[in-house]
């Protein structure tokens, strides 16, 4: 007795638990590959998956088994051509590929490194892990952008809830007219006529034939009414909706960074994560996000991402030049009436004596009025972070910025020494966003 079961609709991804365990197992390798990837990636594609290579020995499954070499073995092979008993066949030199009859490892597993692809979600998970983001924020960042249904004409199929009554009735009317369906009014008139004719007690011959004709006509009309239905499935029209992404505003994100010699690899790496997180956030809120990179030493210039993170430049440090450059670019290309301006600045806090005052003026007189958000991080050593724990203390630039932050609520600043310190910079930004999400 045979019994058939259709399992195709069973829940998918039943091996997900095994995959998670595997990923946890090779965590250290993934982490290394991940850090590498963050360093190499462009800010804008934080959201791709990533190829991960794991050395095979870390995930080996050893058992006792016989070695491939050594000892005396006999073996039967097939396809003999010209060998006779007692023949000696020279062994191929050791290490030569294609050993012929003696090749093929019995384990069936190569010794190659193990390669697999980390999905987008898994990648973002790792990205957020360092940052210690609250869950609500993680969720809102991971969400694929929302789309809303938009009207897109009519269709002949759909759910009853979407019936377009007006259009359906109009089609029905057209069809009834074209096929000359008798109306109820016509039939009622004819019935009345028949009734009055039948009421005549002694009808004339003419009246009798008139009655017969009327009865015949009525019969015909009723038949016709029955065949040509009032509403036919053909007439029904449904409203058709298409999912369209919500139109979003555009934003320009300015990345400002001090690239003088005091910024090492660690500092740049932290800065990059800081920029990435802001970019991820902006991608959620705006349809297009343009990135502008401004680097500065004692003078500032706009550069591409590659140069921004990897090229070295020497010189002093004058922060105000970067702010002036930003101002120039905004005036030239991103009129604040049409663009939401976000500025993120990373620096080690050093500045040319007396320049910080100038920065403060530039900010409060101009930039803060036009930008949506200004985030400043000062990247410090972990040791330094210990004794710089007070917000008040700090070098000149920090003190000047603090005054501005007191006046302007959309200015955020923070000292960071670890990746986990980055998130608090954006805390207010994200808090606002999730509040909006809850209300909306």
């Amino acid at each position: 007795m045979g019994h058939f079961i259709d399992r195709r609709l069973n829940p998918k991804d039943t091996s997900l638990g095994n995959r998670r365990r595997f990923i946890r197992r090779v965590r250290t390798h993934i982490k290394k590959a991940f850090d590498q990837a963050v360093r190499e990636r462009k800010i804008a594609d934080a959201e791709r998956g990533e190829d991960i290579v794991v050395p095979s020995d870390t995930i080996a499954e050893p058992t006792f088994r016989q070695a491939n070499e050594g000892g005396k073995r006999v073996r039967v092979s097939s396809g003999n051509k010209s060998y006779r008993t007692g023949d000696k066949i020279r062994k191929p030199p050791p290490g030569a590929g294609g050993e012929g009859a003696k090749s093929g490892s019995d384990s069936g597993e190569g010794d190659d490194d193990f390669l697999f692809v980390l999905s987008r979600d898994e990648f973002l998970d790792l990205f957020f892990e360092d940052m210690e983001l609250p869950n609500l924020v993680k969720r809102s960042l991971q969400q694929i952008e929302v789309s809303r249904p938009h009207r897109a004409g009519l269709s002949t199929t759909g759910s009853p809830a979407n019936i377009n009554v007006g259009r359906t009735m109009r089609n029905a009317l057209c069809r009834r007219l074209a096929l000359r369906r008798p109306s109820d009014k016509e039939i009622r008139a004819l019935r009345e006529e028949i009734f009055s004719l039948e009421a005549v007690s002694s009808p004339t011959r003419e009246q009798r034939s008139q009655l017969r004709k009327a009865q015949k006509l009525l019969e015909e009309l009723l038949r016709r009414q029955k065949i040509v239905s009032y509403i036919d499935p053909l007439d029904v029209r449904y409203n058709y909706f298409e999912q369209k992404p919500e139109p979003r505003e555009q934003a320009a994100m300015f990345c400002l960074m001090d690239v003088s010699a005091s910024m090492g690899e660690r500092e740049k790496d932290l800065a990059k994560r800081f920029f990435m997180l802001l970019h991820l956030f902006l991608r959620r809120c705006y349809g297009t996000v343009e990135l502008v990179f401004v680097r500065h030493t004692h003078n500032a210039q706009e550069v591409d991402e590659e140069t921004f993170f990897y090229a070295t430049a020497t010189g002093g440090t004058i922060v105000s030049t970067a702010l002036s450059e930003t101002k120039r670019i905004i005036e030239e290309r991103y009129p604040p009436a049409h663009w939401n301006i976000y500025v993120a600045q990373a620096s080690d806090g050093e500045n040319y004596a007396g320049d910080s005052r100038k920065c403060a003026v530039l900010l409060s007189d101009w930039l803060m009025k036009y930008c949506q958000y200004f985030a400043y991080v000062e990247i410090v050593d972990e040791a330094e972070a210990e004794f710089l724990n007070s917000e008040e203390s700090g070098v000149e630039l920090w003190r000047e910025y603090r005054h501005i932050a007191e006046v302007w609520p959309h200015m955020a600043m923070k000292r960071i020494a670890r990746a986990a310190d980055i998130y608090p910079v954006f805390k207010e930004l994200f808090a606002k966003k999730s509040r909006d999400a809850q209300i909306g």
């Binding site: 007795m1 045979g2 019994h3 058939f4 079961i5 259709d6 399992r7 195709r8 069973n10 998918k12 039943t14 091996s15 638990g17 095994n18 995959r19 998670r20 365990r21 595997f22 990923i23 946890r24 197992r25 995930i59 080996a60 499954e61 050893p62 058992t63 006792f64 088994r65 016989q66 070695a67 491939n68 050594g70 000892g71 005396k72 073995r73 006999v74 073996r75 039967v76 092979s77 097939s78 396809g79 003999n80 051509k81 060998y83 006779r84 008993t85 007692g86 023949d87 000696k88 066949i89 020279r90 062994k91 294609g98 012929g100 009859a101 003696k102 093929g104 193990f114 390669l115 697999f116």
Partner: protein, 501 residues
Amino acid sequence: MRKLAESTVNADCLFEDAEWSFDSLRRVYDAIDVVARNRLNLNLYSNQIEIISSEQMLDAYSSIGMPLMYRHWSFGKHFIRNERLYRKGAMGLAYEVVINSNPCISYCMEENTMAMQTLVMAHAAFGHNHFFKTNHLFKQWTDAEGILDYLEYARGYIAQCEDRHGVTAVEKLLDSAHALMPNGVYRYRRPRIPSLSDEKKRRQERRRFEEHNASYLWNAVTDKARVVPADAELQQRKRDLHLPEENLLHFLEHYSPVLSPWQREILRIVRNIAQYFYPQKQTRVMNEGCACFVHFYIINALHQNGLLNDGAMLEILHSHTNVLFQPDFDDPRFNGINPYAIGFAMMQDIRRVCENPTDEDRDWFPDTAGCKDWRGVLLDAWANYRDESFIQQYLSPTVIRRFRMFATSNDADDPYYLVTGIHDERGFHHIRETLAQNHDLASLEPYIQIVDVDLLNDRRLKLQYVERDGIPLDEDQKEATLEHLESLWGYDVILEKMPVT
């Protein structure tokens, strides 16, 4: 060809389309069923045929073909590897997976055409099914009735352990247990198979024992009672441990000084699963040969009765020959003797010997040559042999010649391979012997047993590797596996080799 031409138009045809449907599956199943029972006298578990998608097939692949497997990272690893190979097109998926259970579950992929489904059903749901039900190894060593329940229990129990003791602890234990899995079977004696309720009872006993041990009072008593036992007592204790012991997992489960009860239970689960698969390892040639013989017979019978059209028949024969392909030794695709090919060829040959024997066959198989009852002979062979003994008994000169077999010996000390026998009069016996030995697990898997435990001193566990023909163990693997063994035993472990030639 004449026969093919005649049957091109036939109203009896079970299906015409390439696409399958549940209706046509059922029609074909019933037709196969008639042939299998009436003309081949197969003895079958009832069938449960499940249609699955390719992703589900990959899933089944990576958890050693079993549904309901417990969770472990290694299954995830296999899934990722198989999926990558499959997506790249480097690897095709099997058309079917069949499980030795009652009812016998076979998976068919939804991508298969109707002709393929026909082949797959005849192969798995009838061929393998009969073999699972009647072969003595499966009957004795596996519990087809209980396996699905047991796996369900195992999965639940391990998940529960993960909750209670942490995923990492369970994973570490499973890693070690998996490393010893091939050494977790009884090769010679067969244990009683406990029922599900027995399993439960034993677990409760263990928990009681654990609570009992937690009491300080009891510890104090054993401390006081410690005296140095005499030599005779020591011998007795060794005897109590049933040494020497080949089933490493069994020994550790019962006598390891460091494991807690839940860990012993997990070792037991792994050991039971290993034991369940052990017969399959010993009967690859026979199992596949039986399934191929059965599908070939059934498909031909259906075609002769006009139930299969020529297109379907050709498609089936195409896959059939692909599976049975045996490359020559100098072909890059050569990877030993193909178990499908040799199994099928030997079984077809048994039929030939019964029906049209030559003089040579009468010499070699006086009992069966010309007896006409090939069904009886095959049913007997399927029931009572395993690969090694089957080849020893039934490999005929005809098959040896057809495969042009030759035996070579490879001594690590010599710079050459020596041809020790070919497909001629003098070589038949030698080749038969050698091929049988090549399929004997005892010579393929290293034989390792526990021989001694120094219970009084450092509790060192002593293992012995029987080194046949000077074939050593793989050194890297050995070290890594010994580490796992040490973590389960808790004390030092040494492995000695005992050369045997």
